[in-house]
Symmetry: C2
Subunit: 420 residues, 2 copies
Amino acid sequence: MNLQKLRENILEQGRKAKQAEKFLSVCRTEVKDQALYAMAQALLDQQEAILIANQMDMQRAQENGLKKSMLDRLLLTPERMEDIAESIRQIARLKDPVGSAEYATRRPNGLDIEKVRVPLGVIGIIYEARPNVTADAAALCLKSGNAVLLRGGSEALASNRAICSCMAQAAEKAGIPEGAIQLIDSPERQGSIYLMQMPEYVDVLIPRGGINLKKSIQEHATVPYIMTGMGNCHIYVDEWADHKKAQDIVLNAKVQRPSVCNAVETLLVHEKVAPIFLPQVAQSLQAAGVALRGCERTLQYLPDIQPACEEDWEEEYNDLILAVKVVQSLDEAIEHINTYGTQHSEAIITENYTNSRKFMLSVDAAAVYTNASTRFTDGGEFGFGAEMGISTQKLHTRGPMGLSELTTFKYMIYGDGQIR
Amino acid sequence: MNLQKLRENILEQGRKAKQAEKFLSVCRTEVKDQALYAMAQALLDQQEAILIANQMDMQRAQENGLKKSMLDRLLLTPERMEDIAESIRQIARLKDPVGSAEYATRRPNGLDIEKVRVPLGVIGIIYEARPNVTADAAALCLKSGNAVLLRGGSEALASNRAICSCMAQAAEKAGIPEGAIQLIDSPERQGSIYLMQMPEYVDVLIPRGGINLKKSIQEHATVPYIMTGMGNCHIYVDEWADHKKAQDIVLNAKVQRPSVCNAVETLLVHEKVAPIFLPQVAQSLQAAGVALRGCERTLQYLPDIQPACEEDWEEEYNDLILAVKVVQSLDEAIEHINTYGTQHSEAIITENYTNSRKFMLSVDAAAVYTNASTRFTDGGEFGFGAEMGISTQKLHTRGPMGLSELTTFKYMIYGDGQIR
């Protein structure tokens, strides 16, 4: 497709989404919920066609040499289709945030001011090659009264096409207008860039991805955006740490699911506990298949591991690799985290009250922990029921984004003729 | 100054601000408040030098033919200096939003999760040629624990230099670190653009201004921003309006202070009331010096006024001019507002419950009113005590921005060794 035509198509999708949004913003919860249940059922009813489309994606991906962990994310099975449908039904059961008043007040002049949650409008989402995100994101946006423009990874294009058209048709039959759920259907990278550049139609863009996507957004985006999912997370084992807690938490945060953004990437250890703690934790990490990369002082205690270089402090491995650094003080740990961290999730392991307090106040991140695994930064674990991603920026919202974070508010003011 | 040097200077200011922010983010309220009182006093103690600097700005502005309303905004007098000082003292008396918990919850696994307000970090502000904004913005940012980079209109450069250095010195003497309050000291337009392009140092940019600033921001900014102050506001006089309320509100919203963003710019009148209401309201508006511009049907009832063209529906006059349009229905009024409005403040005048409800739900704006003047969209009128501007975007915050809107939050999570 030539680029001019592609741009026109995407603009037209934006116009349609904006039109659908007007209906969605005042749509009753019961209508949205019925559409969600219909979408879940349609995905199961039409799963044969979806699985065939997914097989096409898988075949192409294998030919292109996509790595195994990526192939696994791309794969759909009947069991996974059931999970996707159940996830949509769960979202239908969550409380609708739209219309709830954060506060209401009567001013001295008799004006009643209410601050009421309303949908953001049209949400654009750019995400990796995981077809389940297509379904989840569409469901979360619909439930919160937003129209959505989905731009998934090109490796999953056939799967996303099948899922998206199935959901959109089911939603339409249930009374949701055309345009509420749309896929940016183009393998060209330019498709993402056009989506970043239509502030007249896109109220918020939510990019899910790594540093390259962030750079592209900062360079090209003219729409407001919320960056999500970049996690260079640290655990600092303090001089006063309980070694057993520290070891369990480090192991959990690295090994339980290394590919996610709230997994730990660098371990910082106070010099006073390093001689005893490092050999212990290294043993259990290595037994779990983790490759360690250490600073000079770490190598004194773990002479067999690979040395760490400057890039290791910056890198989000998303893999069974952990950088290790010995620090002289809590202050050095905080400074390291505030320098190299991505403001996602940071933890201190300590029994010392004052050190905990200092770490919690001074570390600048969406989530700061004392004596718990960074893996808890998650919409489900926080009790949100579902999540769109983890915001790593300070504007609008920070940390896990549930339904409420997909809304904004307006002030509704009731008077009897008041003037100034 | 050559541009390379200018860029380096501004980057260095960003670095200093980021450094100061670390102190400010955990600074006790009493220290910030003492600094604010000291700043207010210093502005009064050094007012002679500030007024001399202001005279230089005034003289240059007069030579450059700045229009009278702008000259008045630029002018400082001893009375205005007292107002500025009192405004800073008022901000010192407001409640500090930092550290308050929006909620706290204990999860089933025993984790305690608190959502706690923290400063945004470094705030950049681009604003028009009003020296009082320099003082207000610095005080609001300091009170909310943020470092600030101020970029005022070049017409006020000498005044801003004097005010800013006076405040920064007073703050430093009171224990606030260097770099907390800084002026981007350059008349070149490029100074603004560099401020828009340092995401490593600027957490949020708050541009206060019109459509040209908005376009420049959309084109150049790589930092997150909150657009403020664009107000193409409407009042819709419904078929069921009380004519007396309608007339008082329209007059107030246009005339009481026409230069501000919450003044009304377009009057929409239902066709059934137009024949009687339009001549009445026109008389009182014209008596107050307002020039009217009408659609074709308006001209039937007000044959002597100027015809309105398409641009009139789009324009924010900020002046004693009002566009007038006759509409066939509430739906047409809502459609017009959602097409031409800037999502600032919109009002319906009606005694009809269902029409009020439909307008309040369907109009997409920061503030929607039934039977009150749009002029109430203001931090003071909302009870915030002070304001940084009126956000007209949906992300982060909408409407008047007080101290709380200059903060974000972080999750503080306390455990006893929890893992997943």
